[in-house]
């Protein structure tokens, strides 16, 4: 899994959600897990695959930034 980028859910509409990916808004598919506005999710190939806490999301982004 090592490198899966977190995103914040802005809006949910059925099986789709709008997320914020490092400041960029994108639509993702949330058929695999149930999400709600404000959740942080790990996304792969346009699908939300895991919900994570805000703290975890910040930590992952920090690690990725440091490893660049």
């Amino acid at each position: 899994m090592c490198l899966t980028i977190p995103a914040k859910v802005i809006k949910v509409s059925g099986a789709e959600a709008e997320v914020d990916f490092l400041g960029k808004k994108e639509k993702i598919n949330c058929q695999l897990i149930r999400v709600k506005k404000g959740d942080y999710v790990m996304v792969s190939n346009g699908f939300a695959v895991k919900k994570i806490s805000r703290k975890e999301a910040k930590e992952i982004l920090r690690i990725l930034k440091e490893e660049k």
Binding site: M1, C2, L3, L32, N45, I60, L61, L64
Partner: protein, 207 residues
């Protein structure tokens, strides 16, 4: 009944990845791979990694009850006949490690060298030197057409890691600079092919 070989394989490849380091579970994974100790805590630790969600998906698709079934875990890390594109409404999933990591280069401009470390690479052993191995492998490179595996090999030093008996000419997998498993030439070729196919698929999605 738990598939211990599946759990061991999951721990073997999960060890020392960025998230395992962050969560401080490397010691647990290492003990389980080497000594077979700490079954419950290993399972709990492995469930925290995103890979577990891919195992669940593959297991559900093929009707396997246990996400840690060795066939499932193998499909995700190096590929086997259970590795398939999973079609969903408005898209598909390809639950293969070397594919799932590619998104990050597009989304966060993660360094190419980090993706190369994170991918499961195939190397051929040129020399053993104490606890190190000198291997040659095909690195990930960026061309105008996108990401691809180089058509040349590079030499690098990696840690012998989990391989005790290894000799010149052996094909091995490595991940984050640590050797994980020995493979036959055919298996090594298959992993190389699946990685190349993943890169082609990724390019197709981004075009």
């Amino acid at each position: 009944m738990k598939d211990l070989k599946g759990l061991k394989l999951a721990a073997l490849y999960g060890y020392e990845c960025l998230m395992a380091k962050k969560m401080g579970i490397n010691g647990i994974l290492f003990s389980f791979v080497i000594k077979g100790e700490g079954l419950e805590e290993t399972e709990k630790a492995l469930k925290k990694l995103v890979a577990f969600h891919w195992y669940k998906l593959i297991a559900a698709y093929h009707g396997f009850e246990d996400p840690f079934d060795r066939r499932v875990v193998r499909a995700y890390w190096t590929g086997n006949r259970y590795l398939r594109r999973i079609e969903k409404e408005k898209g598909f999933l390809f639950p293969f490690h070397n594919f799932t990591i590619l998104d990050s280069i597009h989304r966060s401009k993660t360094a190419l060298s980090l993706i190369d470390e994170c991918k499961i690479s195939v190397g051929q052993v040129l020399e053993t030197r104490g606890e190190d191995l000198i291997v040659e492998y095909y690195p990930l490179i960026k061309r105008s057409s996108g990401l691809c595996l180089a058509d040349f090999t590079e030499k690098r030093v990696i840690k012998k890691g989990f391989l005790k008996q290894v000799q010149k000419g052996d094909f091995i997998t490595f991940h984050y600079g640590i050797a994980r498993e020995r493979m036959s030439k055919v298996q090594a070729r298959s992993l190389w092919r699946r990685t190349q196919d993943s890169l082609d698929l990724f390019k197709e999605l981004r075009s």
